[in-house]
């Protein structure tokens, strides 16, 4: 369960990216509105302004970090956001220190909570919960300082509890969401894996029927009758000997081609035939076989999407091995409807979610995506 939604369901996280912007804007709006509401309590205007700037900074960091093109959202980014937001709460405390009559109109806790909630799709439930707890602790210290001036006649402990409530409630919601969405996704994945294994075995059973046109079937239909012919003939003719040499060579070639090629070559061949888009694979070391299942899926999805009639005229995939892994360079020559950058980013984010270092560059001439993989 130490997963984030971004890792387990990358598309879901991409879809959720705008909510971070919304959360950031709402946080800033809240801080502005509540600063206006308790303007009479402000003793240090500089601190009040600094608090609003810090809220804006925290929101900006969160929104930028969650952008699909900067995936994955690391734990450090969460801490940066929370630290800035807590800084805003401290600055707000400084701005009203000594004359803060009501804690109810302080925006610090709400802003921290809202920012934690809005990055929930990108963090593990544990780190979200921890962020909530740590922020509450800092806020509690502030409340102890503020309690002397507060109008309400209540025990300090009660003030602490009430003041921390927004952070606690909103980070509980964030952690709950992160936990539940991962549980849902993993449950589905278990189901899907079972179905995939079932399909695999059905496919294996039925494969002979569907590959009558494959290389080996065609070859078998030539070689076997030829051998039978020789077996039953009296003499071998010169033509027979030549034919035998030819077939032997073809058989060797087929085996070598089979050993050297990978599933990716088959994918390219499929795309060439079905879509009519020239798809080339240059993979001298058969590195495509090193990729994990999810990485293969991400690569297949990207290539299939690029090699669409109208989107690209030509797609080439080149593997270059490196000491610890390798680099896959996918270059597409755009056609009438060139791939949009925003859509491409989605695939880049998916690739990043499956541990492929991904960069994409779009120019007028071509679209280049570089995926870097590591062999474990």
């Amino acid at each position: 369960m130490r997963l984030t939604q971004q890792e387990a369901d990358p598309i879901g996280a991409i879809t959720a990216a705008p909510i971070v912007v919304i959360g950031a804007v709402l946080s800033l709006g809240t801080s502005l509105a509540l600063t206006w509401v308790h303007r009479s309590e402000i003793v240090a205007p500089v601190a009040a302004v600094a608090a609003i700037v810090l809220v804006a900074a925290a929101g900006a960091v969160a929104a930028v970090s969650a952008a699909p093109s900067r995936a994955p959202f690391t734990a450090e980014r969460l801490w940066l956001v929370v630290t800035l937001a807590v800084g805003a709460a401290i600055a707000e405390y400084m701005s009203t220190v000594g004359s803060n009559q009501y804690l109810y109109d302080d925006y610090g806790p709400v802003v921290i909570g809202m920012l934690i909630l809005s990055v929930a799709p990108f963090c593990t439930w544990l780190s979200l919960a921890l962020a909530g707890v740590l922020a509450s602790i800092v806020l509690s210290i502030l409340v102890v300082g503020a309690s002397a001036y507060v109008v309400a006649d209540a025990p300090v402990a009660a003030l602490i509890a009430v003041n921390a409530a927004p952070v606690v409630a909103l980070s509980a919601a964030a952690a709950g969401y992160a936990y539940a969405i991962i549980a849902e996704t993993l449950a589905w994945q278990r189901e899907a894996n079972r179905a995939a294994l079932q399909r695999d075995s059905e496919l294996r059973a039925g494969i002979a029927r569907s590959v009558q046109q494959s290389r080996v079937s065609v070859l078998g239909r030539e070689v076997l009758p030829f051998l039978a012919g020789v077996m039953t003939a009296e003499r071998i003719s010169v033509a027979d000997a030549d034919r035998a040499r030819e077939l032997a060579e073809e058989l060797r070639r087929a085996l070598r081609a089979g050993i050297e090629s990978t599933w990716l070559d088959d994918l390219a061949a499929n795309l060439r035939v079905s879509r009519g888009v020239e798809t080339l694979v240059d993979d001298p070391t058969g590195a495509a076989d090193v990729l994990g299942d999810d990485q293969r899926s991400a690569l297949t999805a990207l290539i299939t999407w690029l090699a669409d009639t109208g989107r690209s005229e030509r797609v080439s995939v080149a593997f270059s091995p490196e000491p610890e892994g390798g680099l896959i360079r996918i270059v597409a020559d755009p056609a009438a409807r060139p791939p949009a950058k925003r859509e491409l980013d989605r695939f880049v984010a998916v690739a990043r979610a499956v541990a492929l270092g991904a960069e994409s560059v779009s120019t007028r001439e071509n679209v280049t995506v570089e995926l870097r993989y590591v062999i474990e």
């Binding site: 209540a154 009430v162 969401y177 589905w188 894996n193 499929n270 899926s297 999805a301 998916v350």
Partner: protein, 462 residues
């Protein structure tokens, strides 16, 4: 193995996750309410705190019930109970001398819990409806409470903000899913496709390797012999190997039920055997027919089977009750047996001595029996090809929930690590088959003394 949630599940999954998030927040609010009540009662010396804590606890119970069983009845019940508690809490908190208006933090927390009750059904719209109901009931309860006890009514801003956050999240969820990014990215289709490609590739490679193993040496021999009379040894070699693969479903390991593919294979067999030399015809035709349907035995096939049965001397007479071969009986019943293995031995001209009861195959499921049969067949083919002897021993046994078949020969033996990689018979045809059925393959071979292969598979199976 498969990335993320597919489009059709995303809606319900996200909705459930958001509802769960709401419940977490509601429990957090109520927990704070309870602790504030307890603190006020103990530290603050105000006994009313106990009542407040108890009311919040009852609300938490109602919420837990809805979280556990999200039915319409329970949701409505929780909202009614929550509304009642809100009235009571307002009366309790708004006593004269306390808060100026109902816009305060203490009332906000149960209010927020009430609007987060959520409830039955999934989807953004239903969730927004439930939340609106919770919000409105809470507001009304507060109003009523103030009317009862006196005090100033003002809308609770914290509850309104929480309601606003919920609306934003739910609307965003509803709208963002319309873009259908999941469908367009096609990750799930891609995942299926890659698996299929890998399986096909693997299949092709194995089939090619098998064809390569069987036919290449003959092709080279023919090519290097040049024109002239066909060498008898070559002829015999070709006959033996064609017998092993022609007409059989040679290209695949997993010999499924012979249906759609059989006409193709039958014609291949017929073409291969469609010759003018009598013994060859009988051999090829017999093999072809045997592969197409084991229950249909042509005259030629039957006579050859009888011949084979004579050679296949089975000490256990129960295996061949009427003088026919065990596999003929078994094939007629459709029960698992070692049909392929005996057929392979027969075509390879190998005499097989059987100890133990072939009937133990019955404890295996059809696919597992098929796999074991095919693996034993491949073992016998290897003996015929490489061991340099014309006799092999087959021992069958059942014990410890496993079926064990040992294939022994006293041939030349070999060093497993020295077997070239392109000879994939042992690796794929035997080991892969057995391991796929959760079985094990053990092999002992000593040069000049012989080879023993022990195949073990668990009982049952598909």
């Amino acid at each position: 193995m498969s990335l993320g949630l597919p489009g059709h599940l995303a809606r319900d999954s996200l909705s459930r996750a958001l509802a769960f998030a709401g419940h977490c927040a509601a429990f957090a609010c109520l927990a704070v309410s309870i602790s504030v009540g307890v603190i006020v009662a103990t530290v603050g010396g105000t006994p009313g705190g106990w009542a407040g804590a108890a009311l919040a606890a009852i609300m938490a119970l109602a919420l837990a019930a809805v979280a556990r069983f999200p039915t319409v009845t329970l949701t409505v019940l929780a909202l009614v109970i929550g509304t009642g508690i809100m009235i009571a809490l307002t009366v309790l908190i708004m006593r004269p001398g306390g808060f100026a208006t109902t816009n305060n933090a203490l009332l906000a927390m149960p209010r927020i819990a009430l609007l987060l009750v959520g409830g039955a059904g999934s989807g953004s719209l239903i969730a927004i409806v439930w939340a609106s109901l919770g919000y409105a009931l809470g507001e009304a309860a507060m109003f009523l409470g103030v009317a009862l006890v006196g005090g100033v009514y003002a809308p609770n801003m914290a509850a309104a903000a929480a309601f606003g956050i919920l609306i934003v999240v739910r609307v965003f969820d509803g709208v963002s899913r319309r873009s259908d990014a999941r469908q367009e990215t096609g990750l799930h289709r891609a995942s299926q496709q890659t698996r299929e490609l890998a399986i096909r590739h693997d299949y092709e490679l194995r089939a090619t390797a098998r064809l390569h193993d069987t036919a290449l040496s003959h092709l080279i021999a023919i090519a290097s012999a040049g024109s002239g009379v066909v060498d008898e040894r070559l002829r015999a070699g070709i006959r033996q190997d064609l017998g092993l693969i022609v007409g059989r479903d040679w290209a695949i390991d997993h010999a499924g039920p012979t249906t759609a593919g059989s006409p193709q294979r039958a014609s291949t067999g017929a073409r291969a055997g469609g010759s003018d030399v009598a013994p060859a015809t009988a051999s090829a035709a017999g093999t072809g027919a045997g592969a197409v349907d084991d229950t249909v035995a042509t005259t030629g096939g039957r006579s050859r089977r009888r011949a084979a049965a004579r050679r296949t001397s089975a000490p256990s007479s129960s295996a061949r009750p009427d003088g026919g071969s065990a596999r003929e009986v078994a094939a007629a019943d459709g029960e698992p047996s070692l049909v392929q293995a005996f057929t392979a031995a027969e075509h390879a001209g190998l005499t097989v001595r059987v100890t133990g009861d072939v009937g133990v195959m019955r404890v295996l499921g059809p696919a597992r029996a098929e796999a074991l049969d095919a693996a034993v067949a491949q073992c016998l083919i290897n003996v015929a090809r490489h061991a340099g002897v014309a006799e092999a021993e087959l021992a069958l046994g059942l014990g410890g929930g496993e079926v064990t078949v040992a294939v022994m020969d006293s041939g030349v033996g070999f060093d497993e690590s020295a077997v070239p990689d392109d000879r994939i018979g042992l690796r794929t045809s035997i080991r892969a088959r057995i391991e796929q059925q959760e079985g094990t393959v053990r092999l002992w071979s000593t040069k000049g003394i012989g080879t023993t292969i022990v195949l073990t598979v668990p009982e049952g199976g598909a």
